[in-house]
Amino acid sequence: MNCDEFVELVTAYLEGTLPAETEQRFVEHLAECDGCDRYLEQIRSTVDNLGHLPAQRMAPEVRDRLLAAFRDWPTG
């Protein structure tokens, strides 16, 4: 496998959707290529950081309004 092919298969690999034969070639390439090892690591780090973006908080007045609406909601 070449590096330019490897970089386009990274997401399918992480999703576990590569055909077995392709996955084998992918993993073999990964084992011997420092550049692709680093590339995959950087994609993983990007995904991990996306999962830790600063939390957005619901505005307190919106939360209060919703709780009030819930309190006043007629029972169905």
Partner: protein
């Protein structure tokens, strides 16, 4: 993202129907942050995202007594959210296609072909030089800067990539959930996720190259 603090859907739904305010408050606190992020992928600013999330929760209240439990509660809540967000995005003329389909801008290599050796090289298709290393993520300042850069880069992604990356990687939905929420195929979802992630990685790379030169 598992909501380990919340009981099973059936319990949550029963308690909401019994108008258990504590349960509703727990749900608001557990899900609103992710919902704000998802809404922000469709609308122009944080204020509009707050409005959309508020409207979505009111929609949840209106619908909870009739909720059929055909999908998970969270998927159902996010479907309401995405409908509200789409409507608001259209109203604010922030064009997010109703149907998220990979288009012409989603083809071609995700890494600049100049980074790889050409056909006349003994190793065609291999890296010309290793992708430069990034500073250690253990450094708290690096992590904070990385996340600042990512938040800005996410806002600049094409809308359909932004929506998929936000739902998958920021809000933590599974691939199946995202396909269901957006009514797209698994292959389509994967293309958009792949391109979005590759673009975000490239932005971080550019940032750290610039920092190293400074």
């Amino acid at each position: 993202m598992a909501d380990t603090a919340l009981p099973a859907d059936a319990v949550v739904v029963a308690r909401l129907r019994a108008r258990d305010e504590t349960m509703f408050a727990s749900l608001l606190d557990a899900w609103s942050a992710g919902m704000l992020r998802a809404a922000r992928a469709y609308v122009a600013d944080d204020h509009a995202a707050q409005d959309v999330v508020q409207e979505a929760w009111l929609g949840v209240l209106r619908g909870i007594d009739g909720f059929q439990e055909l999908s998970s509660l969270r998927t159902w809540v996010y479907k309401i959210l995405i409908n509200k967000a789409r409507t608001r995005g259209v109203r604010d003329a922030r064009t997010v296609p109703g149907l998220v389909v990979a288009g012409d801008g989603d083809r071609g290599p995700t890494v600049d072909p100049a980074r790889f050796r050409g056909g006349d090289d003994p190793y065609p298709g291999h890296w010309r030089g290793l992708p430069p290393a990034w500073p250690s993520p253990e450094d708290g300042a690096v992590a904070a800067e990385t996340r600042r850069q990512l938040a800005a880069a996410l806002a600049d992604l094409p809308a359909r990539q932004r929506v998929v990356v936000t739902l998958r990687d920021v809000a933590g939905h599974s691939s199946d959930e995202v396909c269901d929420l957006l009514s797209i195929s698994a292959a389509n979802q994967r293309v958009l996720l792949h391109r979005g992630r590759a673009a975000l990685r490239a932005t971080l790379e550019q940032h750290w190259i610039k920092e190293a030169r400074a």
